[in-house]
Each structure stands twice: as C-alpha cells, then as structure tokens.
Symmetry: C2
Subunit: 79 residues, 2 copies
C-alpha cells in the first residue's frame, strides 16, 4: 500500500515562499496568477494489507512528524 499525504499551511498563516512564487509568475508574464500557497506532498510506502489500520497509523505519522499541526493542515489517501 501507499499513503499520499498533503500538508498545507492553515489559512491566515503567512506563506513567504508562496508570495515569492507569485511574484516570479507575474515577472514571467502570468498576470492571471493570484494567491499562491506552497505545501508538501509526501508519499509513504507501507507494508501490511489492512487499509483501516494503515489509515490510523498514517494519521499518527502526520500528528507526530509529517505536519506541524499548529500552522499546518493535512489530509491523506491510502492506495
């Protein structure tokens, strides 16, 4: 199985890296680009076959390591 984890900054948290990308897009002529937010996309290979158990373990991974839950949201899919 494989877990796909998406970690994004919470609304209201400043994203200077996203701002930099936004300015760079404008400089390149992409005037239609509005707000840009940067997050992380994490793929984790998992052993085992129990999807429900794997989902719970991935939730624990996010809480303990993959996301900083003070400033970040996360969601995940098990494939």
């Amino acid at each position: 199985m494989k877990a796909k984890v998406y970690v994004t900054l919470k609304n209201g948290v400043l994203d200077p890296q996203g701002k930099a990308v936004e300015h760079a897009l404008h400089s390149l002529g992409f005037s239609e680009a509005g707000e840009v937010r940067l997050g992380k996309f994490i793929e984790v290979q998992l052993s085992g076959t129990d999807r429900a158990a794997a989902a719970e373990r991935v939730r624990q991974m996010c809480e303990q390591l993959l996301a900083n839950t003070i400033i970040e949201n996360y969601r995940y899919e098990i494939e």
Copy 2:
C-alpha cells in the same frame, strides 16, 4: 479557478529529505513505513473562466518555474 500542482522527484533521483523522514518514522516506531518521497503541492488562484486556456497556462508555469523538469515530474488539476 484554482490550479493544484503536484511536483514530485523522478524515479531514480535521490531524495535525502525523504530518507531523513523515513528514518525518523522508524525511530518513532512506525516500522511499517517503507520508502518515503517528498514532493511539493502548489495551489495557484487563477483569474479567468476558460478552463482549457487555464490548463495550458498552468502547463507553461510548470515548465518555466514550478518544476525543474530535469529531475522532477509534475501534474496538475484545474478546479
């Protein structure tokens, strides 16, 4: 409209950050975790209403700025 862009390292490209996360997961007791790959997840707000035109522009953004196509793959969705 909003574009969601996923940028991932190509197969065969070393991912030391992913390796570090993998070791950290093992240290925390997540022994089921196998290979970990880290990528980027980018959300771009877009003005305009033409989805096909927007998709082509986002492809150009990826090629020119958002992804390093030598070592990274990208995919995107328009919402």
